[in-house]
Symmetry: D2
Subunit: 369 residues, 4 copies
Amino acid sequence: MASVGIGLIGTGFMGKCHALAYGAVRAVFGDVPTPRLELLCEMPRDKAEAMADQFGFARVTDDWQNVVSDPAVDIVCITTPNKLHAQIAIAALEAGKHVHCEKPMALTLEDAEAMAAAARGSAGKTIVGYNYIRNPAFQHVRKLIEEGAIGRPIHFRGFVDEDYQADPDLPWTWRATKAEAGLGALGDLGCHMISMAVELMGKVRSVIGDVRTVHATRPSAEDGMHRPVENEDIASAILEFDNGVQGVFSTSRSAWGRKNYMAVEVHGTQGMICFDQERMNELRLYQNSGGNTQGFRTILTGPSHDPYGHFVPAPGHQLGFNDLKTIEAASFLRAIADKADAYPSFADALHFERVIHAIAASYGNRISI
Amino acid sequence: MASVGIGLIGTGFMGKCHALAYGAVRAVFGDVPTPRLELLCEMPRDKAEAMADQFGFARVTDDWQNVVSDPAVDIVCITTPNKLHAQIAIAALEAGKHVHCEKPMALTLEDAEAMAAAARGSAGKTIVGYNYIRNPAFQHVRKLIEEGAIGRPIHFRGFVDEDYQADPDLPWTWRATKAEAGLGALGDLGCHMISMAVELMGKVRSVIGDVRTVHATRPSAEDGMHRPVENEDIASAILEFDNGVQGVFSTSRSAWGRKNYMAVEVHGTQGMICFDQERMNELRLYQNSGGNTQGFRTILTGPSHDPYGHFVPAPGHQLGFNDLKTIEAASFLRAIADKADAYPSFADALHFERVIHAIAASYGNRISI
Amino acid sequence: MASVGIGLIGTGFMGKCHALAYGAVRAVFGDVPTPRLELLCEMPRDKAEAMADQFGFARVTDDWQNVVSDPAVDIVCITTPNKLHAQIAIAALEAGKHVHCEKPMALTLEDAEAMAAAARGSAGKTIVGYNYIRNPAFQHVRKLIEEGAIGRPIHFRGFVDEDYQADPDLPWTWRATKAEAGLGALGDLGCHMISMAVELMGKVRSVIGDVRTVHATRPSAEDGMHRPVENEDIASAILEFDNGVQGVFSTSRSAWGRKNYMAVEVHGTQGMICFDQERMNELRLYQNSGGNTQGFRTILTGPSHDPYGHFVPAPGHQLGFNDLKTIEAASFLRAIADKADAYPSFADALHFERVIHAIAASYGNRISI
Amino acid sequence: MASVGIGLIGTGFMGKCHALAYGAVRAVFGDVPTPRLELLCEMPRDKAEAMADQFGFARVTDDWQNVVSDPAVDIVCITTPNKLHAQIAIAALEAGKHVHCEKPMALTLEDAEAMAAAARGSAGKTIVGYNYIRNPAFQHVRKLIEEGAIGRPIHFRGFVDEDYQADPDLPWTWRATKAEAGLGALGDLGCHMISMAVELMGKVRSVIGDVRTVHATRPSAEDGMHRPVENEDIASAILEFDNGVQGVFSTSRSAWGRKNYMAVEVHGTQGMICFDQERMNELRLYQNSGGNTQGFRTILTGPSHDPYGHFVPAPGHQLGFNDLKTIEAASFLRAIADKADAYPSFADALHFERVIHAIAASYGNRISI
């Protein structure tokens, strides 16, 4: 297989994650094209050079347009602030590049739709970084449901919480603005859970939602003046999936103690299955089997839960967060090699965006007590 | 203190629980009036006699009206099928008796309101058997919130699940009918969680709900013909409390693997607290304290969590389900001795009934995706 | 069935526990003789009277010899300080009474042997209060092993920890003396685990032990002078059972955070089973069944785990510490009614005493590194 | 910093792990010398070529002596079958190479001592692959103990179990022979726990041990004839550390359900700390702090637990098994750059070997019951 040139824009949290993933993916999987770490984009240029030296990229630039237009770049990885996703992705697609874009797609639904439209008109393949659905433990949940391990699904609950905005004294930042951040908890965390819900239950048909901004203002770090928080800290919704099943959803970025809580329950006619990303290497399964030994089974992942075995050949040894991006990169490289669509493409991920924006927009028909 | 005559109607699950509670409460607490197990009502009479011999009741009857009118009976304990609660309770109150009634109050909101009205017009005290709020672990949750251990509450999640109606092949019973059972999961399980939510957060102001009957029909055990299930298997709602806080609520009687799951989370500005009745002797507390040792603390109950110490003087030794009813009985006996209102009285519990009936009646203003 | 007169000596932690158990056992089980709470012994007499009023005993005394000689007393319950067990038990047996004695049997192995000898020469039945083996969850462990659920047992681990002697600043008490307390952690806690080990694995054939006194002296509460701690805070041993299986055992009364930790693992050729009394209503079972859904199953106790159903007819509702003594009382009442030996009789429990005294006496043949 | 040439011998479980670690370490840490994947050794040669292509090595050989003598190789990574460790390591050290050897050092204590002697006489640095002590969660355990978070350590318990030899029907392999495998569970698993024990408690002074071979023979896959299992399936010991503290140790390779169970408890005068590698991203801490909120705290690792933050800047996102080897590689590269000794060097690891061989050799002075 020919090698594939990687152009990475951004070197922060997810930028490093992409660099590690494309750096490791060939050694882990063997059967994917070899990525070449071709061009790294960061500002200023000396930072770009330092990070390229660390990450192992061949060349640097401080202008993302150079990445989009570089002939040696096949995949453009976008890990910039979210508000830049749309223009970079669209430019890259117009230049015929494949695009690996971090989530959420964009700040507004309009931008996300424009990205999906650009993807439809381009030869480039697209994928959005919903990495948690790559977890072998989570894929085992999906597979068990598909195989009928819990019968027919009848109810869903999904929660995603962190506490990075829990502290009331935290200073005001761009995260609090619609212009810079778009949605709050829904855009940062909630969309992950929607991607997981759809993976297990299929698409969402309708929502009834309710959102709350817990900390209406925050003090500016510069002048101490309080400025408004324009987006939600907490959002909850009752979902209905296309298959008619009811779901409950809630997300908070102000949930003390929750670091990467992504808890899922699927209730079925013959069992239940539960998963939480904070214990990402295990899942819990209950099957109605009669007798006096029924109980939730804690299943530790291992080589029988693909693609765990590509990382470690022994069970219980555990994958980490960065390994999920490596799996995602393998998936994208294979799609490109096969000239097939990757999942979730811009078209697929647009659905997740629609759901979170619908929750943000919805107001329930309350019944007073 | 003078002794108090107990008249118990019903000898099933909760009837036995009342008998054990009033039999043990004086030995456990010491400072409550001594209950006399005076009169037991069951049908037929020979069953009443056998159960009175087992439970230690002095006399028997097979007609509840005899209990209501018996001069030696001070407290009428109602543990009959729910549809009989209202007429017995109202008759007992009219006879000036104190009434200890199992939950839910009645099948319909109208009956519950009639019971509350009867209580207002009677010298008798009332209490409804919301026993889970008696748990020292749960009361410790309440106390910690009151003391500010998690700052100001900002979000609530509460779930109550069992699996006694999970099996699709389970025969049709009276539980499936509005006439005999009233509400489904909401009436049997959901009202418990509302009592717990109100204990921690205060009253509910409004709800948006969604209910589902998973198994639309069930086969009759007699003729195998399928008959309709008239009430809900699953109900979910977004709540708003009087303090403005958003809550998420869901209940299912068809949740495989859940035996007595009553899980509560309260998110606060400085911490979070979690509890699940399936591990009824522990709770989990996270407090924002900085440093690198922050984490959810699993607190085992002990003598410092009142009234645990009346049962066992050493921590970690654990109370059981029946002990909760003993605490409830002590609370009612003390209220009667003090000529004070018990909690939750019929007036208090009416609020819980209103919430579950509102959820059952509500239909959200859905936004289609 | 005729009623059975109970004479209880002691009203502390375990005295109250016995009073509650014999007060409830008939209502719970139905098919056992009805206990009469006949005579309560405590000093001084006015305390005896107050406790008899609370517990529901008919008469009182401040001299245990009156209990032993009272014609209306059938069962003598001994919940005094441990050093008094032997003389009271022997006197009661000589008077032909049945004896329900708390554990450990005595301070010394010689006294325990004298008690067992007295039992052999008496018509009275005996039982020692190893209540943890009564737990339906623990009995389910035993039953699963017997049924072959984990194949042939090949290894055992058992630990029992509390933290009541963990604080270095705790004052010196009688607990620290051989004359008043006998063994330390082994006598108070360790013997419980030996009773549990024997229940699951059969008798112990040999031990290699090691004991440690962590806090060599403690300050007297009176004069602040440090006095020696004469017995062990921690004891560990490698066991060998009569069936040839190796076991690991450890106990500590200075284990911060452990409140009633009694953790058991049995490894078998086809599975493993684990239990911890701090979560006394559940157990964990792993069975080798192939496939990709293997895992430890958390089984919540319920009516299918006898005698849980006598307390509550629904699973997951949980028993408490005091319920275990009620099961023990039922077992003793049934043995007496059937003129059969109860378990563990003085003869049975003598084995547990032998094991802990052997551990205390053993010194391993160390290999220096 | 100059780059460092890596020569890797072996491409199995740990060979791939080394390749991934040296491939990622520079991108993860930034401040370490850049490894060059110089020479890969595997047999036959075409397998070596395929794996070099996958792992990214520049050149291949099918003879380990070529690695040892290659001038471009600075570090020789030994991931061969254990019986080859000694001769390769000694040859590499004699050639002046740095040696990164997998554990255990060798099949016999004599070989391990020869390796340590060779290290003393060489300019090459050495490190043995005790990767579990690299885990940030485990290092946080060590740091908390050092900082006095649990007071003075008074007791240790350590267990390490897997189930890869649990199945009685598993065919006989070289693992069952002393000549090919050396020790059984002690050599494969137990030595890891000794490395962890020493990390937390200091060196081991003496042991009393007991070993068992559960499955005395196993059927040959070739002819079905049963052949003897020459080494232990289970080993247990009571340890004494140089600081005088008692420890309990047990290991099994036949423990159904245990996949990578490495459970540690350290009891201290002011608290307790627990860790299990099967949940490698968390630890549990109890501190005596008085009050009614005491409990074990489940701490999720994050950037405050070095070097977690080099992998992910957000807490709770989790590292995996392979990340531990990356940390180990960074540690070795830094030691080499600093001309300092790495830990655990051959001299350090020799202590772990001595402990497991002492356990295997010890026979306790049993006291019969």
